[in-house]
């Protein structure tokens, strides 16, 4: 294949955020050859997203929390011999030569030739794509650290310009140093909102309110998880102090139930919610603003793994995360995962998981006991402790079933295909659709550019009431758009990968027998996903 890397690396790490960086540098420090791939031009992922060097930013840490941890990983990466493949959009992962090696397929290169000279000219459905070329990286092990994207719940007016993702506002601010407006309401659910409000206010925006649909009492139901993670309380206190300083008002058990304006947002309606997130009649207030940053938590980005039939589990908030062994291995032998792909848990948790996965991979590939063993045990304890907190956190902010009461029949649910809530309800009530896939076929919801990443939660909620069997994770054969010629050039895989439940003991020592086991639901709150079936089509 053109652009192929001839040799096979020990491990290919997909994603250069906190989990991927920790995994890559740890693996390299343990003597493995490592390729690190990321779509961005520089390391950091979404959490440590920062301005391009060309901006000459001298204080990127001003928009960040825990920048010292990133600086440490960045410096270790620079000192390592990790092959850094930035600007690489991975679109699929396949298995080669009877399952002994992985092939990571990516596209790289400028879509526009930088100087007008286009070396590779390909043709896709939209015309010429100059300069992009396919790259294949081969490796004995994969560490999937692809992070997450934001979960969105629609409401009337959410497609108006000026209504932006809370994570989107944060992303554009962190890397592009721009704000969506001067008076920005922050709304939705989850701890990200506090961080977004804090940074928007620090960068000069007026933030009249943070509107949080949950209460914070959900955390109190698991005092153990809180007590074991005092740093999380400190973090919350830090955000709380910053919000006070910027005179930002935090409204809990409330939601933005409508955005107003003709060509852009001019005001929002904030309503009180009951326990199930149903708007309480008579509580609606109008808040003027020129932007709304809104998001309802995060969804693990696991397309590359589910396309291979990887087993998943349901996290406490109903999202699908990868089911992992205690040493971070997926149900596919040779593929490990860390960070948000294993369930939303935050940057600290991601770093611990990335390091743990790297130690486990090194043990497997070298056939030696992971060393030092105490480090492995300490990492596992830290991972388990933070995972317990993460489950508490996601459960506390999980959308209540009453949120669909915000929708009017003419509210767009699918932004790409402009499919309204009324049409989805019609597909369910009149045409008997019982799952999101049937709704998609009947209405085109989820069939557009984003492939249901923005509307998936909403369509599933409107289709199946919360009490029925949960829907299986979305399966998207391609993780990013690619030219058809690239697809046509892909060799047919030698064998279909198959899952295996017996995880090989990394060292064969009695000492380690308790260190690994089959991938499966890894918490009391995660009923095993009923549908890890590899090929339902």
């Amino acid at each position: 294949m053109p652009g192929s890397t001839p040799e096979a690396y020990d491990v290919a790490v997909l994603g250069a955020g906190p989990a991927g960086l920790a995994g890559a540098v740890t693996a390299a420090e343990l003597g493995l050859s490592v390729a690190l791939l990321d779509a961005s031009d520089r390391p950091g992922g979404q959490f440590y997203r920062h301005p391009a060097p060309a901006t000459g930013a001298t204080r990127p840490e001003a928009l960040h929390h825990d920048w010292a941890a990133y600086a440490d990983l960045r410096d270790r990466l620079a000192a390592s011999d990790v092959t850094q493949l930035f600007g690489h959009h991975v679109w699929t992962v396949t298995r080669e030569t009877a399952g002994e090696r992985w092939a990571v397929h990516a596209l790289t290169g400028e879509e526009d030739g930088e100087d007008g000279t286009h070396t590779d000219v390909l043709r896709d459905g939209h015309g010429l794509v100059p300069g992009q070329r396919p790259v294949t990286v081969r490796a004995r092990a994969i560490l999937l650290a692809t992070g997450s994207y934001e979960r969105h719940l629609p409401f009337p007016g959410w497609t108006l310009p000026g209504v932006v993702g809370a994570g989107g506002a944060q992303a554009v601010l962190k890397s592009g140093l721009a704000l969506p407006g001067s008076r920005v309401v922050v709304a939705g659910s989850g701890p990200l909102l506090l961080a977004v409000a804090t940074s928007l206010a620090a960068a000069g925006a007026e933030v009249p309110e943070v509107v949080e649909a949950s209460g914070y009492l959900g955390y109190a139901r698991r005092p153990g998880a809180l007590a074991a993670n005092p740093h999380k309380l400190a973090e919350a206190a830090l955000h709380g102090t910053a919000l006070l300083r910027h005179r930002v008002c935090l409204r809990t058990r409330s939601a933005v139930t409508e955005a107003h304006g003709t060509d852009r947002v001019e005001a929002v309606t904030v309503s009180r919610l009951d326990r199930d997130w149903r708007p309480v009649p008579g509580t609606a207030r109008r808040v003027t603003c020129d932007a709304l940053a809104v998001g309802h938590g995060l969804v693990p980005h696991i397309d590359l793994a589910t396309a291979l039939g990887c087993a998943t589990r349901r996290a406490a908030d109903g999202t699908h995360a990868l089911a992992l062994s205690p040493l971070q291995e997926t149900s596919l032998p040779g593929m490990w995962a860390a960070g948000e792909t294993s369930g939303i848990g935050g940057a600290q948790s991601a770093r611990a998981e990335g390091e743990l996965a790297a130690v486990a991979i090194a043990a497997r590939l070298t056939g030696e006991r992971p060393s030092p063993l105490p480090r492995l045990r300490a990492l596992r304890r830290r991972r388990d402790r933070m995972r317990a907190f993460a489950e508490t956190m996601t459960a506390a902010h999980a959308p209540g079933p009453g949120w669909t009461g915000w929708l009017s029949d003419d509210t767009d649910v699918c932004r790409c295909e402009e499919v309204t809530a009324g049409r989805v309800r019609e597909a369910v009530a009149d045409y008997g659709a019982r799952d999101a896939r049937t709704v998609k076929l009947l209405t085109r919801a989820g069939m557009g550019w984003c492939q249901g990443r923005m509307c998936g939660t909403a369509v599933a909620s409107l289709t199946a009431p919360a009490t029925t069997i949960p829907t299986p994770p979305d399966r998207r054969p391609l993780a990013t758009p690619i030219p058809l010629t690239t697809l046509a050039d892909l060799p047919i895989p030698a064998a279909e990968p198959t899952g295996r439940t017996d995880h090989t003991d990394p060292g064969g020592s009695d000492d380690l027998d308790d260190l690994d086991g089959p991938a499966g639901p890894d918490g009391p709150d995660g009923p095993g996903d009923p549908n890890p079936n590899p090929h339902p089509r």
Binding site: L63, E111, T159, G204
Partner: protein
């Protein structure tokens, strides 16, 4: 010159090594901080919409900010369907509002 710390660029102490430059949006000239994405440059100029939808002709701009939602598609130097949040602005780039499916002007 004292920098206003209550702006994003001031907060992080941005001081570009390269000369500032401009791009155009529907013919209007906009300043760009070197290294900014096209979406960021448009937001900084107060522009939130640079696409109209295929069905309803409704205005859209950047939403997810990380290349997942495709709401920020723009026509850049005559080429449609570019994700403005992922494309770094270059001197003289001509960004134009993308109408509908974005195939207008293509010979496909």
């Amino acid at each position: 010159m004292k920098r206003d710390e209550r702006t994003p660029a001031g907060l992080v102490g941005a001081s570009p090594h390269a000369a500032a430059f401009t791009i155009t949006f529907d013919g209007r000239e906009l300043p760009v901080l070197p290294g900014q994405s096209i979406a960021a440059a448009l937001w900084a100029a107060g522009i939130l919409a640079w696409r109209s939808t295929r069905v309803g002709g409704r205005p859209r701009g950047a939403f997810c900010g990380i290349g997942q939602c495709y709401d920020c598609l723009a026509t850049v130097n005559g080429r449609p369907n570019r994700r403005a949040c992922l494309v770094t602005a270059r001197p003289g780039d001509a960004v134009t509002t993308q109408e509908g499916h974005g195939h207008a002007g293509l010979d496909t």
